[in-house]
């Protein structure tokens, strides 16, 4: 009934968004066992950085006015900066703490960022006109898709490939992969904890910024709550993908995006509002079938 190509683009673009967010969460979890619930607020923060802080209803563009060539690196740097800053201010002091205490403090940090944004920008969602031209439809493989969807898919592939190259080819990447697997052992070999952790936070923050740019372009609005839903899905993706496994996080992100799109497309109307209930039931089933994660070797023991 529905065009197959169209469905593919819908699934791939949503999945790409989730995959990028999941990577951001998995990177930090890998190096310090922290489930960073402030990740959603990093996304919101980057979106709001596009506009002038003011509680007025009409948003005035701040960074959003800059040309893309400057804007994109600037926002990515900003995302990295807030992530690094939060590591310095909060998580650095909690390295010896239990993962639960770290998780709750990340939630508290998110709460602080969200309310600070509310105080600075007011509770009313703001409109953002970021690259409206990307929302023109193009025809491809028999489907008519907004240009942005293609860009999201391409960006995800680029980001994932870029990150893979960085992890595979650079010194920092090697140290991060080693640290993700066994942090203490890496330190015993002289790998500097601070460098690796700062690197992980910077990358994670930049990924949040990339998600923020895509969401802002796609939805055209800025709202303090906008990162929350993506963050939760991403969090789930990192677990069912296999904690500590970056390729697993990406794959699971795509999988959840695809499942969500397929459920929306094929559930009967009366069941469609229950879409998320079906989705989360699938999540529980995945966990029960493969507690160690879908995309890691079955022999690997579940971590934590």
């Amino acid at each position: 009934m529905t065009n197959f190509a169209q469905l593919f683009f819908d699934a791939a673009s949503l999945g790409g968004l989730y995959a990028m967010a999941a990577l951001g969460i998995a990177l930090i979890f890998g190096v310090m066992n922290l489930v960073n619930f402030a990740h959603g607020e990093y996304i919101a923060f980057c979106v709001f950085a596009l506009i002038v802080p003011s509680t007025d209803a009409v948003a005035v563009m701040l960074l959003g006015r800059a040309p893309a060539l400057i804007l994109v690196p600037l926002i990515l740097a900003l995302g990295a900066a807030i992530a690094i800053a939060s590591e310095h201010a909060v998580f650095r002091h909690l390295r010896r703490a239990d993962p639960v205490a770290m998780m709750i403090s990340s939630f508290a940090l998110g709460f602080v960022i969200r309310n600070a944004l509310l105080a600075a920008y007011g509770g009313r969602p703001k409109a953002i006109s970021l690259w409206p031209d990307l929302n023109t439809p193009v025809r491809i493989a028999g489907a008519e898709v907004p240009l942005l969807q293609l860009i999201v898919i391409l960006t995800t592939l680029l980001v994932v490939a870029g990150l893979a190259a960085l992890l595979k080819k650079t010194r920092l990447g090697l140290e991060m992969r080693a640290a993700a697997e066994n942090f203490t052992m890496a330190r015993l070999l002289g790998v500097k904890a601070n460098v690796v952790i700062t690197g992980a936070f910077a990358l994670s923050g930049a990924l949040a910024a990339a998600v923020a740019l895509i969401m802002a372009t796609q939805t055209g609005v800025a709202d303090v709550r906008m990162g929350g839903q993506v963050m939760l899905v991403a969090f789930i993706a990192t677990v069912i993908g296999g904690l500590g496994s970056l390729p697993g996080a990406v794959a699971a992100g795509f999988l959840i995006g695809a499942a969500s799109v397929l459920l929306q497309a094929f559930l009967p109307l009366d069941a469609r509002p229950f879409r998320d209930a079906f989705l989360y039931t699938l999540v529980i089933v995945c966990l029960l079938v493969r507690p160690q994660g879908l995309f890691v070797a079955a022999s690997a023991k579940p971590r934590v």
Partner: protein, 246 residues
């Protein structure tokens, strides 16, 4: 000044003491075995030296530099390297990548490449599987990799925690032969946890006996082994000596 000086240290986990008021010295180029029953504090001792667990009391020095209070990476950078119990290789990294993790503290980029080739020469099986995931190696191969990885930091002092654990006797011989050869070649100082005094005697060196978080005996490994054999003959096993399994 000794290579490693441990002065009156204590380590505790919560309220449970693991090491109490321990003092110990290690000379340049020496090879020392630490032996003792399970729970004697052998691993805690090594972990305290390398900075993995904090000491509650006392100080540790290497070449006159204070190690106490430094992070593990800072200690590694001073020239101390560790082959931990259970090897802890990075299973998802390739064999070669495992070797390269510890090279970040070295400036001599050229020498790193030749060192890697040297390790592959010493352990040919690692060279054959340099691109394979380290997790796929057998236990003995992983032990070799862990030793190679520790060597790649170009250490002055290397600590090896139970290299024979879980390995077949033939493999253990091979591991010790390699360690001895490497020590010869590089002038390494070695501190090895080894439960079997017989094994230690065969390799040769000083031997320290720990029990209940303290050093309770010390001497030439060969003498200690004789004493053990005697004790065993008269009183049964003085400390457990697990026979290796493949």
């Amino acid at each position: 000044m000794s290579k490693l000086g441990v002065f009156d240290i204590s380590v505790r986990y919560g309220k449970v003491p693991a090491i109490s008021d321990l003092t110990f010295h290690l000379e340049e180029g020496e090879r020392v075995f630490i032996s003792g029953p399970n729970g004697a504090g052998k691993s805690s001792f090594l972990n305290a030296i390398c900075g993995k667990v904090p000491t509650s009391h006392g100080r540790i020095e290497m070449d006159g530099d204070l190690l106490t209070g430094r992070s593990p990476e800072a200690i590694a950078r001073l020239g101390l390297s560790m082959v931990p119990e259970g090897r802890e290789i990075f299973g998802s990294l390739t064999v070669e990548e495992n070797l390269r993790v510890g090279t970040g503290i070295r400036q001599d980029a050229q020498a790193i490449e030749t060192d890697i080739e040297e390790i592959f020469a010493a352990f040919p099986i690692l060279g054959e599987r340099r691109r394979a995931a380290a997790g796929a190696l057998s236990g003995g191969q992983q032990q070799m990799l862990a030793i190679g990885r520790a060597l790649m930091t170009n250490p002055k002092l290397m600590m090896v925690d139970e290299p024979s654990l879980g390995l077949a006797p033939k493999i253990v011989d091979q591991v010790y032969d390699t360690l001895a050869a490497l020590q010869e070649e590089r002038g390494l100082t070695l501190l090895i946890v080894e439960q079997s005094s017989l094994r230690a005697a065969r390799v040769g060196g000083r031997m320290v006996l720990m029990r209940g978080g303290r050093i309770v005996g010390e001497g030439n490994a060969a003498d200690m082994a004789d004493r053990d054999a005697l004790a065993q003959a008269y009183f049964g096993n003085s400390h457990p000596e697990p026979e290796a399994v493949a």
